[in-house]
């Protein structure tokens, strides 16, 4: 009895004393993924602290502005001051900052490394790893109440409440909001839960007056204990799966969904060099493959990072003003600090989630929670250039001998992550064919060589 207790005590204490070595991210940043690579992609930024929520909805609508219409369930009636038109450039900056990225490393001369190894301890080596009727009467007949009506920037905005969903559906259709068939039960669900509807259209006169050729993001600010994103209206239209990028700005730490799996994408994997020229396609296929692996039911973590820095940086971190414009106001600038020390920037943790959703796999809205997890994560992929020197020390010979194995490993990693054909990958890499993955010869084939 005492012996096993001693073992437990030693292990427990030992684990406390053991400290994992922090691996620095390094390497040269060479590329990132544009969110526009994905069809039908929407982008939403949510800044939240103490139930105070600011949602920024990106608008990449490219058709006739007359055709634009937005319907969003909101938990409260919004005053005019709670609605704002944001700057598309800030959201684009946020997308660039957090984008999945490609970095490259260059192997050093193994002969020189051999010398180094002789001088340094093995520990030092670890750091080399990569880390009609009058409108009002008609509204009444339909049971619709226009709670508020504003013009903000280039948008005409209404806050609607309704007695029943059929009336709301009719009203929206009559007012040229293209509501898909079958939306009524979803509208009813939101109405019974006491939610209001934020509906927006473009005011062409205001747009012309402002001289804008594109639509700016709409922002809403409200206070509610509900930390969620309504997606069900988007799933009613059965026109395939929707793509959504969610940027969550919080004070404490990473955000995850409480009612769906939040899955980390494969990261820090070494991929063949030719991926450099087709990183966008690589990432799109990798994402689709991961969605399939999760049976279409998960959200994927692409980035989780303290916004005060980045390594490597796909774009510089957002400035305090940019963050504030997205709703980060939990740490107001307080002028000069004591003893002339400059005040610190706001403590902001960014979580970037990417989801491909449809009604079958996502029956419920996305519910979130903020965690205490401040560990950094980024979807980062590595190109590792082989050393091309001609030295002939023993280490160089071993290094060259091991290269084909490494290339094959990279090919298999790429095939596994993206679902690409292994033979095509080998061909692109100019590797000798070794047969498909998992197509090893059986024992009897090896026995008789057939």
């Amino acid at each position: 009895m005492k012996r096993w207790l001693l073992a437990v005590l030693t292990l427990t204490t030992g684990l406390f004393l053991w400290t994992g070595e922090a691996l620095a991210f390094c390497g040269f940043y060479v590329g990132k993924v544009d969110t526009k690579l994905f069809n039908k992609a929407s982008e939403v930024a949510i800044a939240r602290h103490d139930d105070k929520t600011v949602i920024t909805m990106a608008n990449d609508f490219t058709g006739d502005a007359k055709e634009f219409a937005l319907v969003v369930p909101v938990p409260t009636i919004l005053k005019k001051e709670q609605i704002h038109v944001g700057d598309a450039a800030v959201l684009a900056h946020l997308a660039d900052y957090s984008a999945p990225r490609l970095v490259e490393y260059f192997d050093e001369n193994p002969c020189r490394r051999e010398e180094l190894m002789e001088r340094r301890s093995m520990d030092a080596m670890k750091s080399l790893a990569p880390a009609a009727a009058s409108p009002r009467t008609r509204d009444k007949a339909l049971g619709i109440t226009i709670e508020a009506q504003y013009t903000v920037g280039e948008y005409d905005i209404l806050i609607l409440s309704a007695k029943e969903s059929a009336g709301l559906e009719t009203w929206l259709t009559e007012h040229d909001y293209k509501i898909p068939n079958g939306a009524s039960p979803v509208l009813r669900s939101y109405l019974t839960q006491g939610m209001k509807f934020f509906v927006a259209k473009v005011n062409l006169g205001e747009q012309a007056k402002l001289g804008l050729t594109h639509l700016r993001p709409l922002q809403i600010a409200f206070e509610s204990p509900k930390f969620m994103l309504p997606i069900r209206l988007g799933t009613v239209n059965a026109d395939g799966a929707q793509e959504l990028f969610i940027y969550l700005l919080t004070k404490q730490g990473r955000v995850e969904t409480t009612n769906y799996r939040t899955v980390r994408l494969p990261e820090a994997q070494e991929v063949p060099l030719y991926v450099k020229d087709r990183f966008g396609v690589f990432y799109r296929d990798l994402f689709s493959q991961q969605v399939t692996r999760e049976h279409g039911r998960g959200l994927f973590l692409e980035y989780a990072w303290d916004m005060s820095w980045c390594d490597p940086c796909a774009a510089n971190p957002l400035s305090a003003e940019e963050l504030r414009s997205l709703g980060v106001l939990w740490q107001e600038p307080q002028g000069r600090g004591r003893n002339g020390v400059l005040p610190q920037g706001p403590q902001v943790f960014l979580t970037r989630l990417h989801v491909r959703y449809d009604a079958t796999h996502f029956p419920e809205d996305l519910m979130f929670q903020e965690t205490a997890d401040r560990a950094n994560f980024q979807a980062r992929y590595i190109l590792r250039h082989a050393w091309a020197g001609t030295d002939s020390c023993a280490a160089a010979v071993t290094y060259r001998r091991q290269l084909p194995e490494r290339y094959e490993r990279e090919a298999q990693t790429l095939a596994s992550m993206t679902g690409w054909n292994i033979e095509d990958i080998r061909r692109e890499m100019h590797l000798a064919s070794q047969g498909p993955i998992g197509d090893e010869k059986t024992w009897y084939q090896r026995l008789w060589g057939n």
Binding site: V8, P185, S189, Q252, T257, R261, H295, T371, A372, D373
Partner: protein, 287 residues
């Protein structure tokens, strides 16, 4: 064989009818599956520290309180549940949670019963202080369904003494979810989806059913389960907070002495060597 029988100590006799053995196997299997297939964000050091601290705390308390023998089963169940549910990046938090869970069994007592389920109390304290979190959405359908079957199986195989509280809680909670969906016109896929939480199953089959923290009589236990379920529903749909059943259980735990006074019943004792009890009171019965 004779030699083995002759040298056996009461403390190492395994009572195969003890439901906790089945629970340990179920939780251990689930943890392994979660680590290997679902990529649960719990590290090996965290698991070792949690289980190690719980066992050491149980052993130390056994000596301090003067119990007849050391029994690791309850400590293992508490620590495995913590490994499955608690997420933190700090090993100190894992150790503190395990220590809090086990010590609460010995410190927070009333009439030979624990005031709080050990795992629930530790989780509530860590969540409230912001040092850790629970990831209720990380299970996926396959794991959830497999675990559900295993949990139901455990009720049958072990003829668990407290199945009534589990079943009463689940029936009430499910009925509320379905009634709410029907009321607001949601398809039934939504309440079904809401049930797909492994954390909910651990809660229902391993936490609320803890014989050491539930009322003694069956009517008392069913009343208690209904109170917990209704509080959980309020936390989930009234306050919009995650981990609602956990908060429901913590908030309702102080009701147990009142329910016991109102609806008294015979006290439960684990089969075989008692893990953490002082000598049972005269009116106790043994299964």
């Amino acid at each position: 064989m004779e030699q083995i029988q002759g040298t056996s100590q009461p403390s190492v006799v395994i009572n195969w009818r003890d439901p906790r053995l089945y629970q340990i196997v179920t939780l251990g299997t689930l943890l392994t599956y979660g680590l290997l297939w679902l990529k649960f964000e719990v590290s090996f050091p965290q698991i070792a520290v949690t289980i190690g601290t719980a066992l050491l705390a149980q052993y130390a308390a056994t000596g301090l309180v003067g119990l007849a023998s050391f029994d690791p089963k309850s400590a293992l169940i508490s620590s495995l549940s913590l490994c499955l549910l608690l997420r933190t990046n700090d090993l100190t938090v894992s150790a503190a949670a395990a220590l809090l869970a086990i010590s609460s069994k010995f410190l927070l007592r009333r009439r030979h019963k624990h005031l709080f389920n050990p795992t629930t109390l530790a989780l509530a304290v860590v969540l409230a202080t912001g040092f850790g979190w629970i990831s209720p959405g990380q299970w996926g359908q396959v794991a959830w369904f497999g675990f559900f079957i295993a949990c139901l199986g455990s009720l049958v195989v072990t003829r668990a003494a407290r199945a009534d509280v589990t079943l009463a809680f689940l029936v009430c909670y499910v009925a509320f979810l379905v009634a709410r969906a029907l009321w607001i016109g949601d398809p039934l896929t939504i309440p079904l989806h809401q049930l797909e939480s492994g954390a909910l199953l651990i809660f229902a089959f391993f936490m609320i059913s803890d014989p050491k923290t539930t009322p003694d009589s069956r009517p008392g236990r069913i009343t208690y389960a209904l109170c917990v379920a209704l509080t959980a529903c309020y936390v989930q749909f009234g306050l919009f907070r995650p981990n609602a059943p956990l908060w429901g259980l913590i908030l309702c735990a102080p009701l147990v002495p009142l329910i016991d006074a109102w609806l008294p019943g015979p006290r439960y004792e684990w089969p075989g060597p008692s893990p953490d009890n002082r000598p049972p009171p005269p009116h106790c019965f043994r299964c």
